[in-house]
């Protein structure tokens, strides 16, 4: 399930910490990037790798917003909906994205290309409204900029970056 090269990276991560378990969240990031999401099998693999119970690992993974326990699209759009971004039109962006993608927040387009999620403050309030796509910030967003971005995602001009 996990490539040898990845496993080597995980071994390096583990070696950084006085206690092995500390590497859990960095490892979950790596495994998620490799598998696409944290499937039960992936969780079980990580549990075995670190010598933890699968329930324990699941309990940790489910605590964090960026760790996906369900399959997600190829691209992940997070829209900040906290106060500063809302003051400058975040809800309008969300409505627009929902219309253009034909999905609701939390859903993935039927072609599996894009998952749309709301996100709490991304620390981009000075350049609000902000969104994050595959880990990359897009700030001072407008409807027009959103449409350009969606077009790029659709025709593959934006590769998926590792988050």
């Amino acid at each position: 399930m996990i490539a040898d090269s990845t496993k080597q990276r995980l071994d390096e991560l583990v070696a950084r910490y006085p206690e092995k378990r500390s590497a859990l969240i960095p490892i979950l990031h790596e495994v998620q990037a490799e598998v696409g999401y944290l499937s039960p099998e992936a969780i079980q693999w990580v549990a075995g790798y670190l010598g933890l119970s699968p329930a324990d690992v699941m309990s940790v993974a489910s605590f964090y917003d960026m760790l996906n326990l369900e399959p997600v699209g190829r691209h992940m759009i997070y829209v900040c909906h906290n106060l500063s971004c809302s003051l400058l039109g975040a809800e309008r962006l969300i409505r627009h994205l929902e219309e253009r993608l034909g999905i609701r927040v939390g859903e993935t387009t039927p072609d599996g290309l894009i998952t749309l999620k709301r996100m709490e403050c991304l620390a981009s309030c000075g350049t609000a409204p902000a969104i994050q796509v595959d880990g990359v910030y897009y700030e001072r967003m407008t409807i027009q900029k959103l449409d350009e971005l969606l077009a790029k995602l659709r025709d593959g001009r934006l590769g998926r970056s590792r988050t």
Binding site: D65, L83, L87, L88, E120, A123, C125, A128, Y137
Partner: protein, 428 residues
């Protein structure tokens, strides 16, 4: 007279990209050899105490005092963890500091580690800061290469390993013990205190957790002296502070200023005033956990004491400005939605209270409020404050109380008119 930028002086250097070459060219990594050569660790702690540097993450605790709590026993490992989990809504200074000038932070961490006798330190970086983490990693590699990290730093005999540790999306990990739990590979649930991290922190060992901006101040204190530092700003809130100004201002952004600056100067001089010539309605001075202030507070100084005296707090320095198109019930709904989403769920009052607050405020905003809701809200806030393991519950309750204190008529109007009177206005 323009204030001399200290933490953000790179902003005035053309083509500054934050590489180690750039940092060295503008005089970086001069504090570190000075600290290692001229100071015993205990002297550094004293120097930072003397500087009056207070934590820039939210609580404003004196940094040197925090360091002083670390036991001197050399046999126990000690850890320094840089809190780069910047998540307080309205705050975006740490992200800037790590993306624009990562070596300033690294230098601060190495000096601070030396001061407390730590040989393994971590930068706990918010998971969403993908780019920030990448730049930090790059900077760490540069620093290792040039001997500012690793074994026998600059021939001093002092060793330090420093790693970036990425979180994965949870506001509560900004709370220092939640952060330590997360760093130990657990759910980021804050710990019962005492024991405080200085006694039993990471791996139950003495640990200092300092905010990014706090640590960035350290090289400057070493280089220019505690007296110089203490001369900046009011006596109890010394040094420069980064104010993140956002919302309805002409020029949102980070402003590095002494804390003697008034709210009025910050908003109207530095940030260019209210957008589109509108009126100021409300301002949150220290991140969304801080109680709201209004026009009447504009001449307050932005130091910890003055803001506390006005019933609010300096918090994380996130200043959110709202003009007169803003519905305060909607603000309450958004802010309470945030705490509802972010409560870790271990304490009853917080888990249930944040959700209940959000539901009631949403209902009022939808025009389905009941007369008795406001008293229920206030009582609920009272029940949530000061009774939980960490202060997220307080942080959720205090702003709502303040909205009700200054804008009660708006809440009543929603209930009376069975609708939001601001519907259709602005972009909100």
């Amino acid at each position: 007279m323009a204030f001399e930028k200290i933490l953000t002086r790179y902003q005035d250097i053309p083509n500054y990209t934050g590489t180690i070459e750039d940092y060295l060219a503008q005089g970086g990594y001069q504090a570190l050899p000075k600290a290692l050569r001229e100071f015993q660790p205990a002297q550094l702690v004293e120097e930072v105490k003397k500087s009056g540097l207070r934590g820039r993450g939210g609580a404003g605790f004196p940094c040197g005092v925090k360091w002083g709590f670390i036991p001197k026993d050399p046999s126990r490992p000690k850890y320094l963890v840089c809190n780069c989990d910047e998540s307080e809504p309205g705050t975006f200074k740490d992200r800037m500091l790590i993306e624009q000038d990562p070596h300033q932070l690294i230098e601060g961490i190495v000096i601070s580690s030396y001061a407390i006798g730590c040989h393994l330190a971590f930068i706990y970086c918010r998971g969403e800061f993908v780019e920030g983490a990448r730049r930090l990693e790059r900077a760490l590699a540069e620093a290792y290469r040039q001997g500012y990290l690793g074994e026998n730093i600059l021939g001093s005999g002092f060793d330090l390993d420093l790693y970036v540790h990425r979180g994965a999306g949870a506001y509560i990990c900004g709370e220092e013990t939640g952060l330590l739990e997360s760093l130990e590979g657990k759910r980021g649930q804050p710990r019962v205190k005492p024991p405080f991290p200085a006694i039993a922190g990471l791996y139950r060992s003495p640990t200092v957790v300092n905010n990014v901006e706090t640590l960035c101040n350290v090289p400057h204190i070493v280089l220019r002296g505690a007296d110089w530092y203490a001369s900046i700003g009011p006596p109890k809130s010394t040094g420069p502070r980064l104010f993140s100004v956002s919302g309805h201002v002409e020029r949102p952004g980070n402003y590095e200023l002494p804390m003697s600056v008034t709210l009025r100067e910050l908003i109207f001089e530095h940030a260019g005033g209210i957008r589109n010539g509108r009126r100021l309605k409300a301002v949150i001075p220290g991140g969304s956990s801080a109680p709201v202030l209004t026009e009447q507070h504009l001449d307050l100084r932005m130091d910890f004491e003055s803001l506390a005296a006005a019933g609010s707090m300096g918090g994380s320095g996130g200043v959110i400005v709202m003009d007169d198109t803003v519905c305060m019930v909607r603000v309450g709904e958004i802010v309470s939605r945030f705490y509802h989403h972010e409560s870790c769920g271990q304490c009853t009052q917080c888990r249930e209270g944040t959700a209940w607050l959000h539901k009631v405020l949403s209902r009022i905003e939808r025009g389905q409020g009941r007369k008795e809701d406001l008293e229920v809200l206030l009582d609920m806030c009272d029940n949530m404050k000061g009774k939980t393991i960490c202060v997220l519950s307080d942080a959720a309750a205090m702003p709502i109380e303040s909205y009700l204190k200054y804008f009660r008529d708006e809440f009543e109007a929603h209930i009376r008119e069975r609708a939001c009177p601001f519907a259709g206005q602005g972009t909100f």
